[in-house]
Amino acid sequence: MLATAGAGIAQETQGGAGIKALPMSAALLPVSQAMLDGAAKDSKNWLHTNGDYAQTRYYPATQINAKNVATLKPKFVFQTAVVESMETAPIVVNGVMFITTSYNYVYAVDAVTGREFWHYKHKMGPVTTFCCGPNNRGVAVSEGKLYMGTLDAKLIALDTKTGKLLWETEIADPEKGYSETMAPTVADGKVLIGTNGGEYGIRGFVKAFDAQTGKLDWTFYTIPEKGHEGVWAKNDATGRDMHRDIAAEKVAFAKKSNFHETLGGGVWTTPAIDRATKTVFFVVGNPSPDLYGAERPGDNLYTDSLVAIDLDTGKYKWHFQYISHDVWDLDAVSPPILVDVKDKNGKMIPGVIHGGKTGHVYVHDRRDGSLIRFSDAMVPQENMWTLPTATGARMLPGANGGVEWSPMAYNAGARLTYALNLNQPMTYQVDGSNYPNGKLWLGGAFKNAPGEEQSGNVTAVNIDTGKITWQAKTDQPMIGGALATAGNLVFAGEGNGLFKAYDAKTGKVLWQFQCGAGVNAPPVSYMVNGKQYIAVAVGGNSQMDFKRGNSVMVFGL
């Protein structure tokens, strides 16, 4: 199978006579569970899409640092065959880099030279469904295998040395709107993956598959069959009145409560895992339809929530809902980060933090999910929670921000988390509609507020106080992700092509490079032969319509 696929691929994208793929590096060894567990202190590899199981996106090497970053230079540019939105975070194992693109290509390349070892093009099934671009955010690696979710809702396993397809399994029915863009994660021989589809009336979940065989192990549905009405919460997580007509909702719920199969709640960003307590933490997307709440009375649990479940069984542990009965699409999407935090009494406890689309960083007690504090607002908030109307109601933030799917980074020494924010003023417009059977189901429209400036920022938040330590404004709304390093640096890219390094403590821009297309992906760092590199995908973004490209750029001193 490999020989056939390889021959086809060689013709498909390499073109010229005599061009041969590089023999796979002998240094590439299977990634063990011990390596995955130790990733936070691994100053050689980048083994998880967000750095480690805690998802700190913190790289412990100091070779590239605030004093010398001004001399950072491009070392190579790897160009893929797909010019479209790029949101991949490359995985790097012993000098071999794994990259994904829109439409589910995977490349294995030399992380020093950019020369290709192999690539794989997923043969898409007849039905692909996705709301916001044909993205893929990367892979998980373990024990000589590489795992990727696909736009036609499959999970595939490839041999890391050859790119050979080992197995594939359908996660859910794409005809009903299920698809995959998230990077899965692997632990204890299980591949964990959620689903897209919050805009399609799916029933969200996290599933665990056997990493060896692809056989389904367990499923946790983010929409419970019973009890999704919750506690009829009147206020959001910060205590603000959400203007729900709870009496009317209860009347509607008494008439119809059996809509859990179409209530949404996608899990489309990577979970964090606490290996000590065998707990999985993830955030849940919006209810369906996005803007039309009359179809779905109640709190719509566990949409817009942070949820903890058991790694071994998938059983529920706790949840915390930020917005009940969301009609603004301000769901929970930025991956949670596991850190120690100060509780309200100043005592250090295990915590979990999440950057919200509301523009707050939320700080929770990891043991029960309770909210300890929320940060200062990182973006303008106005008229919260004005209900959508038929002709459009303005409320800020718009549906894309504060913090969209962009993963935050965290620097434990500085006690700071770094969040990328969008300020995209919008109006919210509702138009009632019934479940459209697997088609896009917004129940209205989002529109940019005419004439209002759009912008973004990188914000450093002290998680023990919730105070903003520094904020660096950007010309465009920020989407993609942050990287923090022990070199006192924070890296983040922009829609206009600029890739920047900030001083982690002050926010001063220390270096920037114009990449030529939107830099809207999470940067990573790694070390090969004693030299540290910074890598980032440069392909723009569908959702924000930033200039498309097809490259991964790699920088070094």
């Binding site: 039905v127 009632g432 429209a445 959702q543």
Partner: protein, 191 residues
């Protein structure tokens, strides 16, 4: 109307011959479509949409909506009513695989500029993607006839077309006739 009945009979007969997505089968079934949609889906009559190169999932779901009455058109509804799922998938696959011919349309540059600005405001590209190339069931708009685009926007606004789950009816609700004219000019100008 007689021609439509004949075409309908041909499609009904063919629907029993195919059980999987099959472009070649779709080609035969599409013979009935040539009168309006042109050879290989390249309509030369501006009121009929170009189907060549359109997203297969969009085509399939629109046929399904015509068949089930979610979308109504006096010409298309009777054409679709007896199509099987296989017919619709074959037809969708065939048209999606065809190469669209360039549309000859003389756009008004001033209207194109205004249309672009309005399309940015109402976030067309968030669903239809940059260049209006579409994605899965969100249609490709580039290379489409100006007259067809304008009619669809007007139909959504008037709710004469409403198989969009509230999306396009909302988008068009606050557009003026002038906005629709400008957006149509802008979109028809993208090839």
């Amino acid at each position: 109307m007689k021609a439509a009945h004949l075409v309908f009979a041909v499609l009904t007969a063919l629907s029993f011959q195919s059980h999987a997505v099959d472009i070649e089968a779709g080609k035969k079934k599409a013979e009935a479509c040539i009168a309006c949609h042109g050879v290989a889906g390249n309509s030369t009559i501006p009121m009929f949409p170009v189907l060549a190169g359109q997203n297969a999932r969009y085509l399939y779901l629109e046929l399904r909506d015509f068949k089930e009455g979610a979308r109504v058109n006096p010409m298309m509804s009777p054409m679709a009513v007896n199509l099987s799922k296989e017919d619709m998938q074959d037809l969708a696959a065939y048209f999606a695989a065809q190469t669209p011919a360039a549309i000859k349309f003389q756009a008004d540059p001033a209207k194109v500029k205004l249309g672009f600005a309005k399309s940015e405001e109402v976030l067309c590209s968030m669903c239809h993607l940059g260049g209006m190339k579409g994605q899965n069931e969100i249609p490709k708009l580039s290379g489409q006839h100006y007259a067809y685009i304008k009619k669809q926007l007007m139909d959504f606004k008037a709710r004469d077309r409403h198989n969009d789950a509230g999306n396009m009816t909302s988008v068009t609700k606050t557009l003026s006739d002038e906005d629709i004219e400008n957006i149509s000019q802008y979109v028809a100008n993208i090839n």
